[in-house]
């Protein structure tokens, strides 16, 4: 049931294709740039679930990516030769165009969220691996010598000294990876992963501007909020970084 533009003003081709978004509001009927009232009415039913999906998609991708990158960085930190192959692999994954990547993976793992996560995780590896390794390598050698001379074991040194001191660059990597993933995850709707990409694709298909603008703005807001949260977390976790002698 499509709602046509008011008679008398023949629409420019191909004509508004507003689907069943409720014909009540003239804003919706005329498909104006952004219909605030419609957005508010439909937020709970159409956007909130997608927003939650999007957060899940991103959280899982960045979380799994961080675990893999941390493990790889720890290996590369002990075994220098490991850095080059893993860097090359993660850089290669990073260069694959996202749509092509999703499409390729569909042939292996099907149209589902798991497929999307594989691609999203792959994109986080480069930045997370490089930053984590750089952080581990930037730990001051004198702190390591002190730890060794105090009788700390390798594991104790890693947990108590190296990882905490590597935290600022790790957090910087997490911020970039998170914001990038939030943006990339919208494409994942293409293979049925859900998230804010769904209303964006939908809006593009139907031509209903309010829908894809609202979803796009939500994705941007989510990225800003996530970045802000990570900054706050970093300040909380690295109090020493701000406290310097004047």
């Amino acid at each position: 049931m499509s709602v046509l533009a008011p008679a008398g003003s023949p629409p420019p081709s191909p004509g508004p294709v507003i689907p069943s978004f409720g014909g009540g509001s003239s804003c919706v009927v005329q498909n104006r740039q952004f219909c605030g009232a419609w957005f508010v009415d439909n937020f709970g039913s159409r956007f909130a679930p997608r927003l939650v999906e999007h957060i899940e998609l991103t959280g899982i991708a960045v979380g799994v990516g961080m675990v893999i990158a941390l493990a790889a960085a720890l290996i590369a930190h002990r075994l220098g030769w490991f850095e080059t192959p893993f860097s090359l692999l993660s850089a290669f994954l990073y260069t694959i165009p996202s749509l092509a990547f999703f499409e390729l993976m569909v042939q292996v793992t099907g149209i589902n969220r798991f497929t999307a996560e594989i691609a999203l995780v792959s994109y986080t590896l480069l930045i997370l691996f490089r930053n984590t390794l750089a952080g581990l390598r930037a730990v001051p050698p004198d702190a390591l010598e002190a730890a060794q001379a105090m009788g700390l074991s390798r594991r104790q040194t890693l947990i108590r000294v190296e990882l905490p001191l590597a935290l600022p660059p790790i957090m910087a990597g997490l911020r970039i990876a998170t914001v990038t993933t939030i943006s990339l995850a919208t494409v994942a709707a293409y293979i049925g992963a859900g998230g804010l990409g769904e209303p964006i694709f939908d809006g593009i298909q139907t031509g209903f501007k309010t829908e894809f603008i609202a979803a796009g703005v939500l994705a941007i807001a989510l990225a800003l909020a996530a970045d802000g949260l990570l900054v706050a977390a970093q300040r909380l976790l690295t109090p020493w970084a701000r406290r310097r002698r004047a």
């Binding site: 001051p140 702190a143 390591l144 002190a146 105090m150 009788g151 406290r243």
Partner: protein
């Protein structure tokens, strides 16, 4: 060498421990190098003494030091602490019993002062309250120490203060011995002098056995109960600062301690060490009895006098010391300082 007064001071504090260290024919060779970095090193550091290792760079002094806590493994020989080989213990256990202070300090920038000092105690399972109490006690011992300082981060302190914290951290679990690798080497001269004085005072209280590496002969003379001079990985001479300055074993040692070794010796003694002449009645420059002979000499030369009045505890002159008396100390047959 513990005098009566010192033992009294030590007795007022909670019992502290010290242990003798012995090097027994210790060698360190690196593969592919003909000369040993350390060759056949043998000497003993009695309990509670500061032994300074000194020599030109590359002489093996730091290598020798780091073999004690096995930061560098020795190739041959043995090092014992209190008669037990350092190789007989698990390395982490060995190191927890040895305080280590080095030039770069190595405080953990992400931990508060309390966290830094409490690192080893935490590993040993001390309670929070006990760690806090110990950290505060140690901070006060090294001349810092408001409760506030405990919660601050190393980056908020000056270099000299950081090294004080470094010393406090090294003493956290009251190790019987301490290794100090040019601990004051990166600190400006005025602060260094204060740190040295404070550390000597601290040492009189806690009486650890200390091996102290430096390349600065003045620091060695000031800090060492005994000084071991090394060259090319070998021990050239080990003796008290006074004997070393009075009777260098060879040309190299004489060179190393410097042409002004006579003046340096004057630094080892104070006016207290000389028998006082009666006061003559002339107006003389005056100095407290704890003044070094070097400073007293300088005072005489500056004032154009040939004697200096010695002030007792209450600030009144108790006698005088003459230029001749000082010169006699340095004579070819040095007279032993008065007990």
């Amino acid at each position: 060498m513990i005098s009566g007064e010192d033992t009294q001071v030590a007795a007022t504090r909670p019992a502290t421990t010290a242990a003798p260290i012995a090097f027994l024919n210790v060698s360190k060779r690196y593969p592919g190098r003909a000369q040993a970095a350390v060759g056949n090193l043998s000497f003993e550091v009695p309990s509670g003494e500061i032994c300074v290792l000194i020599g030109p760079s590359g002489c093996g002094k730091t290598t020798a030091l780091k073999m004690v806590n096995r930061l560098i493994p020795m190739t041959d020989g043995d090092i014992t602490i209190d008669g037990r080989s350092v190789n007989a213990l698990q390395v982490s256990q060995l190191r927890r019993g040895i305080g280590y202070v080095f030039q770069q300090i190595g405080l953990f920038p992400h931990m508060t002062v309390e966290g830094n000092i409490g690192t080893v105690p935490r590993l040993l399972g001390w309670s929070k309250a006990r760690i806090r109490e110990r950290a505060l006690e140690l901070l006060q011992l090294v001349g810092l120490g408001s409760e506030d300082d405990l919660r601050r981060y190393p980056g908020e302190f000056s270099g000299g203060q950081q090294q004080r914290i470094g010393v406090a951290r090294a003493m956290a679990v009251d190790p019987p011995i301490m290794l100090m690798d040019e601990p004051f080497g990166a600190i400006d001269p005025i602060t260094r002098d204060r740190l040295q004085d404070d550390f000597l005072r601290l040492h009189r209280e806690v009486r650890k056995t200390i091996i102290f590496v430096t390349h600065d002969i003045d620091e060695a003379i000031k800090m060492g109960d005994r000084i071991a001079i090394m060259r090319d990985g070998r021990l050239v001479q080990i003796d008290t600062p006074d004997n070393l300055l009075a009777a260098p074993a060879d040309e190299f040692v004489a060179d190393f301690v410097g042409a002004d070794r006579g003046l340096k010796r004057l630094r080892v003694w104070t006016l207290n060490d000389l028998e006082l002449d009666p006061l003559s009645g002339d107006t003389l420059p005056s100095a407290p009895a704890a003044t070094s002979l070097r400073d007293a000499l300088s005072l005489m030369l500056t004032a154009g006098a040939t004697s200096v009045a010695v002030l007792g505890q209450d600030g009144t002159a108790t006698g005088s010391v003459s230029l001749e008396a000082i010169a006699a100390m340095l004579g070819p047959e040095p007279r032993a300082p008065a007990p």
